[in-house]
Symmetry: C2
Subunit: 151 residues, 2 copies
């Protein structure tokens, strides 16, 4: 039987923040925001979104599923690239509209479609009233032109 979620409207603010009922607060588009981090290092790999179906599939299968806002489709992470994410733990925040998904990144270890471990491979550096980006030095673990050809 598929996983179902409680409706946050059925709970008080205090129950949502301190209780044991999981009642994810999906936004007007039906999504929660998910921060995916690497088990052990805590390194932030990516930021993505889940609808109720993706959240249920993630919990049922132990494999990360998201909702692709650009493709407007369920997205089993790694289906094209082989970079599957195995779920270690899912945490929710105080008001239950955001999640931290702790994963083991399989494949070549690249969560980002650019081939890097993490999507957050550039830092902002202020110079006067302008801001430039500087590469933090994450290597490319695959060539996206090879992996996504035909997509």
């Amino acid at each position: 039987m598929p996983i179902t979620f409680a409706d946050p409207a059925a709970f008080t603010h205090a129950q949502l923040e301190e209780g044991t009922d999981f009642a994810p607060k999906f936004d007007a588009a039906g999504l929660v925001t998910v921060v995916t981090v690497e088990a052990g290092s805590n390194e932030v790999l990516m930021l993505a979104h889940m609808n109720a179906q993706a959240l249920a599939l993630t919990l049922e299968t132990g494999i990360a599923h998201y909702w692709s806002r650009s493709r407007r489709a369920l997205w089993k992470k790694g289906e094209s690239s082989g970079e599957i994410q195995e779920v270690v733990e899912l945490r929710t925040d105080c008001d239950q509209d955001a999640m931290v998904l702790v994963v083991r990144q399989t494949g070549r270890g690249a969560a980002c479609h650019t081939g890097r471990k993490s999507c957050f491979y550039r830092r902002a550096v202020v110079a006067g009233n302008q801001v430039q980006l500087q590469d933090t030095g994450l290597p490319r673990l695959f060539d996206p032109a090879q992996i996504y050809k035909g997509h």
Copy 2:
């Protein structure tokens, strides 16, 4: 002179993903999503949003500023609670619509308004087709009833 940001519409997809121009992609509400992590441990402390003003102030002052969606107001984190966040680094993701803000959490070390270090203090545990939340054991570092009285 205040910091200004480049317009992402002025760049190609490849320039946004691989270039050195910081051109944050604010959503229809004028916001980017920000994951705030603790320097050193990488622990995710909170998830919040910034508008252009909050992002500029954060970079100019080195102190985390957000946009409070519930109060619809600029929010200098810690102004009420004393839990100021000192910026170590700001990173952007591939398409520049999400940021990781690396901080030193001052005060009592509680980023969450519930008095805990992190907002992500509960994990989801599946039992059949239901999901329950389990406390991960983060202690309360302040009593929110004392800190936010009058708010």
